[in-house]
C-alpha cells in the first residue's frame, strides 16, 4: 500500500520531519505544508535529507510557501510544488494518509 505522509512542522523546531523520514517506505509520498514547508528549502541543513530519501516523492504546498515569502526558486530541486487541489489528489491517489503532527 502506498502512503501519503504529511509534515506540518518546521524541521528546525520539531522532530516531525525527521521522524517522518525515518518511517517512509519507497514508493511513498511526503507532503510538506504549513510550517513543514521550511523543510523544502535549498541550502538548509535538511536539504540533504530530502535528497537522501530513496524512492520517496516530495511535495510542498504552494499557498504555504507563498504566505511565508518563500519564492519557488528557493525550493529544492525534485520537490514538486502543488496547490490544495494537488493535496486532495495526493490523498486520493495513495491508500492512506499518515499525519506526523
Amino acid at each position: 500500500m502506498s502512503e501519503l505522509h504529511t509534515v506540518n512542522k518546521s524541521p528546525f523546531e520539531k522532530n516531525s520531519f525527521d521522524s517522518c523520514l525515518g518511517h517512509v517506505l519507497e514508493g511513498s509520498a511526503v507532503l510538506l505544508y504549513e510550517d513543514g514547508v521550511y523543510a523544502a528549502l535549498k541550502g538548509t541543513a535538511t536539504e540533504g535529507k530530502v535528497k537522501a530519501a530513496q524512492g520517496v516523492k516530495f511535495y510542498a504546498l504552494g499557498p504555504d510557501l507563498k504566505a511565508r515569502g518563500l519564492a519557488q526558486d528557493r525550493v529544492s530541486d525534485g520537490i514538486e510544488i502543488i496547490d490544495y487541489a494537488g493535496f486532495v489528489d495526493l490523498a486520493t491517489e495513495h491508500d492512506k494518509v499518515v499525519a506526523w503532527v
Binding site: M1, V98, A99
Partner: protein, 136 residues
C-alpha cells in the same frame, strides 16, 4: 471495503502530562475498542514515555491516567508496538515500561504480553499494513 473490518493504528508520538494528547488519544482507543475493528497502538518518539512505569502525578495535581493502559487488554486491545530506536534514543529499555498483558481466550486465558518491541523497519511494515492511522 467500507463495511469490512479495518486495520486501525493509533500513532502515539507525544509524552504524557505536558499536553493532553496522550490522554485524549487513549480515550479514543477505549471508545474505538467497541467497534470490532483490528486495533493496534504504536509508541514512537516521545510516545514511549506514555507507558513508562512508576508514574505518580500526585504532586502536579493532574490525573494519573497510566493505569488505563493496563486495562486495554480487557478491551481486546493487545497489539502495542514500541519502537526500539525510540526507546534507545531516550535511554530506555523494555524494563522501564509498564508490564501490560492480556488474556488469550483461545488458550485457556493464558496471560500474554501486549507490548512488542519492534525495530523502526518492522514498524514501517506494520504502518504499511494499516487501513487507517490516527494521529493526535
Amino acid at each position: 471495503m467500507s463495511e469490512d473490518i479495518k486495520n486501525f493504528l493509533y500513532l502515539n508520538r507525544r509524552a504524557p502530562y505536558g499536553t493532553i494528547y496522550a490522554w485524549e488519544s487513549l480515550e479514543v482507543v477505549l471508545i474505538g475498542a467497541a467497534f470490532d475493528q483490528k486495533v493496534s497502538l504504536a509508541f514512537v518518539d516521545d510516545g514511549v514515555f506514555q507507558i513508562v512505569k512508576g508514574q505518580d502525578t500526585s504532586a502536579i495535581e493532574m490525573k494519573n491516567f497510566s493505569p488505563t493502559y493496563s486495562a486495554l487488554g480487557d478491551y481486546d486491545v493487545n497489539q502495542l508496538y514500541v519502537e526500539q530506536e525510540s526507546l534507545e534514543e531516550r535511554g530506555l529499555s523494555v524494563d522501564d515500561l509498564m508490564h501490560l498483558t492480556w488474556e488469550d481466550e483461545d488458550e485457556d486465558w493464558a496471560e500474554k504480553d501486549s507490548i512488542r518491541v519492534v525495530s523502526r523497519a518492522e514498524l514501517n511494515k506494520i504502518i504499511e499494513a494499516q487501513d487507517v492511522v490516527f494521529s493526535f
